[in-house]
């Protein structure tokens, strides 16, 4: 797929979001304000993610949103006004809740691959150990000549007869 086509598909993906923001700005401006401020880490992550590893943005958005949703709950509970929205945004606990979710996402995105890598390394070492054991066993059974013969085409072994002492 060409770059133009990709960018066209990406642009199409933003249409519902823009419609949502437009409608929200008209019909529920306080919600849009809280959302806009609360979701800043995700917006930054969306544009600052150079690798564009699939899942990272989703994780960030999901956890960020998980922190923003209770804040929206408080907004609607206390009165869905712009004053309440600004009041809520002046509460550091709300900030902690909203951005904490993003922080947890960032931690997960760093920590889980590290843990998986460690697991992979241990698994690979055990596999190498097993293979080396098998290799030694084969050398013991077939002699060191198999090392040389295996370097040639395997079919060449058919006629290979090296006397053993």
């Amino acid at each position: 797929m060409s770059t133009d086509a990709q960018s066209k598909t990406g642009a199409k993906g933003y249409v519902p979001l823009l419609v949502f923001i437009a409608l929200g700005s008209v019909f529920a401006p306080p919600t849009i304000i809280v959302l806009a401020v609360g979701m800043i880490p995700s917006i930054i992550a969306r544009f600052a993610n150079p690798a564009r590893v699939p899942g990272t943005i989703a994780s960030m958005i999901a956890l960020n949103l998980a922190g923003v949703i209770p804040a929206l709950g408080f907004l609607w509970e206390r009165g869905h006004t712009i004053d309440q929205a600004l009041d809520l945004l002046s509460d550091p606990y709300m900030w902690l809740m909203m951005y904490g979710g993003a922080g947890v996402a960032a931690f997960l995105l760093w920590g889980v691959p590290t843990v998986v890598l460690a697991f992979y390394e241990v698994q690979a070492k055990q596999h190498i150990k097993r293979l080396e054991k098998r290799r030694s066993k084969m050398i013991e059974e077939w002699g060191a000549q198999i090392i040389e013969d295996s370097k040639i085409q395997p079919s060449a072994g058919k006629n290979k007869k090296t006397p053993k002492s």
Binding site: V53, A62, E77, L108, V112, Y120, M138, W142, S150, K164
Partner: protein, 671 residues
């Protein structure tokens, strides 16, 4: 095996005393020793221990021992004698002539003694042997003895221990065999003995060797040109009685020589006027060859063999052919000569060999009654076997010449051409060698590199009772494959299996004497020398021989089998299988059964399975090595995978957290 008490004893009776050699009774290469008769100590005997590779006259032994021959040294017994565990020799035991030689060189005997005492006795021997259709072939002045002290009991010496006529001086040989090598003179006939008797009379009366100062070729040429009588007799003081006798005996044409009937009449006192011979037929016009004029085709043939290159140019120019056709008026020989030039030489070897082959064929046509010549070899009818045995005993030019002769097909062509000749309106039915034998030898020489074939095979095919001449046997005599396998077993035990029971001689000997193994040798010849199958087939032949000929356990030969199979086992890649087979081999050789070893080891299958498993092992090993390398170098890939998988897990956890947050918020705020 016989015990030590029977060592050196023939048929539990004749003890050969090796510590008492009797040099004066030696017979060519065969050594003479005193013999003790353990049953009758009054017998004075001597033994001839046959030299290794000596083709003694086995075909006449039974006929000679079947009936006593008065006037000939009595052959008491003969057979194989064991001198130690691995030393077997063929031995003949004869009466020892205590009276010594009847003739001493340089001291001529009187006519009375020669014609009155010696000749009648020998004539009796010739008559006696002729009645049994055998010839003596050893009648000469230094082979006549007095059996008793006081010059009594004349007897002619033995005639069985060497090839016929091989101990005769060339002068004693008639034209049919005079130009052959000593060992290739052939059985001859009664006429050969009669001729030798004539020469012996000349020798005894003259006191000196009749051929003294002349080479065999000079004698042959002189006899051809002037006739034997003219060459030998004028030198001795001979009465008319002697002259008549000698003219009859020394006629060079066997059909004009005195025959048995005339000889019997002579012995009985009826003297006949003989028809004297005058040498070979003469052409009215001479042929000039190499600056000399030749009238006799046989003398020309002799001269041609001396200068083959010049002879070839003459042959090529067609001069000899036209001389034979026109001057000798022999159209048949002329046609065969033309044919021999047209077919030329066979095989490889270049112009020189082609010349030799053509000259050999031409000289065989010109001198078809004489010996067949090729380079350093020459042999009379029936003499190829003897000369071949001689060639093997004395490695050298003769052996090379015979090998070249047989492999080039010259002899096949010459024999075929000889058999085309008609004698008295009938086609000839005998030649220097039988056409069947010579064709077989040609075929064996085509496979000369292979075991069981080549010149060695020809040797044993042409000498049916010759002992195996393998150096492995160290001169021991074995007459058949059964004895051979038993002797090889002893030698292998002695040498701890480090012998070669399949050298060229043994293989050829076995192939000749054991018809059952011939197919196996043919099969062996189709397998490359370095192939495992080759060794397995060799062992199989030995196993088959053991099974058929000597089924008793053969631990010694099994040791050889072990040494032959070990390198094959060592080619097995699998340590486990290899060690298992080695242990199995050690165990199974204890039973001494070669066929069982092959069966139990099942090496062919084991090698096949090993090769296939090794192939699989190589593939697995390569895959293991590749996997290890991939895993060792796979950190980056693993990092990437961990990153991807980690992010996926993180996103799942995040979505779970989002859904939880939504659920909890719904429950907290809306309920």
């Amino acid at each position: 095996m016989e015990n030590g008490q029977n060592s050196g004893v023939l048929r539990s009776r004749y003890k050969v005393l090796l510590q008492h050699p009797l040099g004066h009774m030696d017979s060519g290469e065969n050594r003479a020793y005193k013999v003790e008769d353990m049953r009758d100590s009054s017998n004075v005997l001597y033994a001839l221990v046959i030299a290794s590779g000596m083709p003694f006259r086995s075909s006449i032994i039974e006929t000679i021992t079947a009936k006593n021959t008065p006037g000939m040294i009595d052959l008491h017994s003969h057979g194989v004698v064991q001198f130690d565990a691995t030393d077997f020799r063929y031995v003949f035991v004869f009466d020892l002539p205590v009276g010594g030689y009847a003739f001493t060189e340089g001291k001529g005997l009187s006519e009375q003694v020669v014609l009155g005492v010696i000749v009648p006795r020998i004539v009796d021997v010739i008559i006696n042997l002729a009645s049994r259709e055998i010839s003596h072939r050893n009648i000469r002045a230094d082979n006549v003895f007095y059996m008793e002290e006081g010059n009594s009991g004349v007897a002619v010496g033995e005639c069985v221990s060497t090839p016929p006529g091989s101990l005769q001086a060339a002068v004693y040989e008639p034209l049919e065999s005079a130009n052959a090598l000593a060992d290739g003179r052939g059985e001859g006939s009664l006429m050969t003995d009669i001729y030798a008797l004539g020469v012996m009379i000349v020798h005894m009366l003259g006191g000196t060797h009749p051929g003294e100062g002349r080479t065999p070729a000079e004698l042959y040429a002189a006899k051809l040109m002037h006739g034997t009588y003219a060459v030998l007799v004028p030198k001795i003081p001979a009465s008319s009685r002697v002259s008549f006798l000698l003219a009859g005996l020394l006629n060079d044409d066997p059909s004009r020589r005195w025959n048995l009937d005339v000889l019997i009449r002579w012995r009985d006192g009826v003297y006949e006027r003989p028809r004297p011979g005058f040498g070979d037929r003469q052409a009215p016009g001479p042929l000039v060859f190499d600056g000399n004029e030749y009238l006799s085709p046989r003398v020309l043939a002799l001269a041609m063999t001396r200068r083959p290159a010049q002879a070839y140019s003459l042959l090529e120019g067609g001069k000899i052919e036209s001389w034979v056709r026109n001057s000798l008026n022999d159209k048949d020989a002329g046609a065969r000569l033309a044919d021999s030039i047209a077919t030329g030489g066979r095989g490889s070897g270049g112009a020189r060999r082609r010349e030799l082959q053509s000259v050999a064929k031409a000289s065989a046509i010109l001198d078809s009654q004489g010996a067949f010549w090729y380079r350093e070899s020459s042999f009379s009818r029936g003499g190829l076997g003897g000369v071949l045995a001689y060639a093997f005993r004395n490695e050298g030019a003769v052996k090379t010449a015979i090998a070249e002769l047989l492999e080039g097909g010259v002899l096949v062509d010459a024999v075929y051409s000889d058999l085309q000749k008609t004698e008295g309106g009938r086609r000839k039915d005998d030649s220097w060698v039988g056409i069947g034998k010579v064709t077989e030898c040609f075929a064996y020489m085509e496979k000369r590199e292979d075991l069981g074939f080549g010149l060695e095979r020809c040797l044993y095919e042409l000498n049916t009772r010759l002992g195996c001449m393998s150096p492995v046997l160290k001169g021991s005599y074995v007459s058949d494959a059964e004895k051979l396998i038993d002797l090889l077993e002893q030698l292998a035990l002695k040498e701890n299996g480090k012998i070669n029971p399949f050298d060229r001689h043994i293989s050829a000997f076995v192939a000749t004497r054991t018809p059952n193994t011939q197919k196996m040798f043919h099969k062996l010849s189709t397998i490359p020398l370095k192939d495992v199958d080759y060794t397995l087939n060799l062992v199989m032949i030995l196993g088959r021989m053991q099974h058929l000929l000597s089924p008793s356990p053969k631990p010694g030969l099994c040791l050889w089998v072990k040494s032959a199979l070990t390198p094959i086992i060592n080619t097995i890649h699998s340590d486990i299988r290899r060690e298992f087979l080695k242990k199995k081999l050690d165990k199974v050789i204890e039973r001494g059964n070669i066929e069982l070893i092959l069966k139990e080891m099942d090496l062919k299958n084991n090698l096949k399975r090993d090769a296939s498993e090794y192939d699989q092992a190589i593939t697995s090993f390569a895959s293991i090595v590749n996997n290890i390398t991939a895993l060792e170098n796979g950190t980056i890939a693993r990092k990437y995978a961990a990153h991807k998988y980690g992010h996926w897990i993180a996103s799942i956890m995040s979505i779970a957290a989002l859904l939880s947050s939504m659920g909890l918020s719904y429950m907290y705020f809306l309920r």
